[in-house]
Symmetry: C2
Subunit: 247 residues, 2 copies
Amino acid sequence: MCNECSEMNERIDRLKGKLIVSCQALPHEPLHSSFIMGRMALAAAEGGAYGIRANTKEDILEIRSQVDLPIIGIVKRGYEKSNVYITPTMREVEELAEAGPEIIAADATGAVRPGGVALSEFFCQVKKKYPRQLLMADCSTVEEALYADRLGFDFIGTTMVGYTPQSRGDRIEGNDFEIIKRILDKAKHRVIAEGNIDTPEKAVRVLELGVFSVVVGSIITRPQIITRRFTDAIEGIELENFNIKQG
Amino acid sequence: MCNECSEMNERIDRLKGKLIVSCQALPHEPLHSSFIMGRMALAAAEGGAYGIRANTKEDILEIRSQVDLPIIGIVKRGYEKSNVYITPTMREVEELAEAGPEIIAADATGAVRPGGVALSEFFCQVKKKYPRQLLMADCSTVEEALYADRLGFDFIGTTMVGYTPQSRGDRIEGNDFEIIKRILDKAKHRVIAEGNIDTPEKAVRVLELGVFSVVVGSIITRPQIITRRFTDAIEGIELENFNIKQG
């Protein structure tokens, strides 16, 4: 193994049993800004995160300027006639390659990619052009995870569980994380838990079950979502029951 | 009552039974930036917050440009020979007045202010120069709260509970929020719960008990603190117990 690969392996090994924080804000979100995402990543690092997941080349470059942590990079982009929006085509892979994230993640749900490209074909295109690039598969079912594992993805993620028609109603934490257990039981590659991990207890549990690393996002880096947890709870109680002092 | 006062009252009344989000990042914090705090406030508004608490004139002006919500303004500044750092002197009040927050909050813990000024003297100075300015007292004990209430503060806050020598070890949620119950029992002015309200359940409970409004901060707007909740939990488990797939 060359020095470069050996150093990369060391960087990745440090993620073992640790937290990765997803720092993303899409154009319609209040924190949309590469500057803010860089500072978010800095906050995550200060809080003890070992890795960052980020969207777009611009955000990744800014995050690189703020923290020295391994990055899982994606580009979210919508195309007509395809439901795949996480790194759907080679165009997004090439953009990411310019920023050089340690891992590139892509949709691996089996939905048809833009241009009618199958997942296996996309995987081969990426590996041909970037043979050393580590790849993570964002899957929504056990079957998809095991297919991505057979294709040779380096990391198998549960990112899309509950977000595809074939996984509708599935919850990552259902039946004590049964989906993750079933993937761990059969997959040869490292499994990364991602999606709806919104409490420290859930993060601990998936690590206990044997995932390599756990990604936590919105509950840390989307203040509008966290605020909503509070306001939903407050709206849920009847104001008439309050005995508010009017001063 | 003049139209201006009537409109102000209406703005303030809207806070009744609602969530105020504190958007602060001090100079040593990763999100320190008025730009970011403005976007944070926007996120809080999107998440259903009815008010914002903010630090410094600069942050308040930026937040005003992003959201139309009532603001509780403070200036945190340290002085020699005084432990008071939340709006300690008239200098900070004058700075805040330039930004015009609906409410100005200040330390009301009874600690000696810079220059040996007592709380009652400070209160009179502010009311003399800004007779219509609504004021919130940041207190650490029931006694302080009731003293501030007698002085005439418009809002009585529990911000400092646990953060002064005389409240060391006290927790706002202790004995089902006993401190808040005791303040509510005697105070004539509106009570605002603030400090360590870090779950939706706690926010709901203090509203049920009868506080006018509840301020939530770090668990929404300090990602380094939220990240630490996860990493502390993860560090707390023995890695040897994991059965991590190495791929």
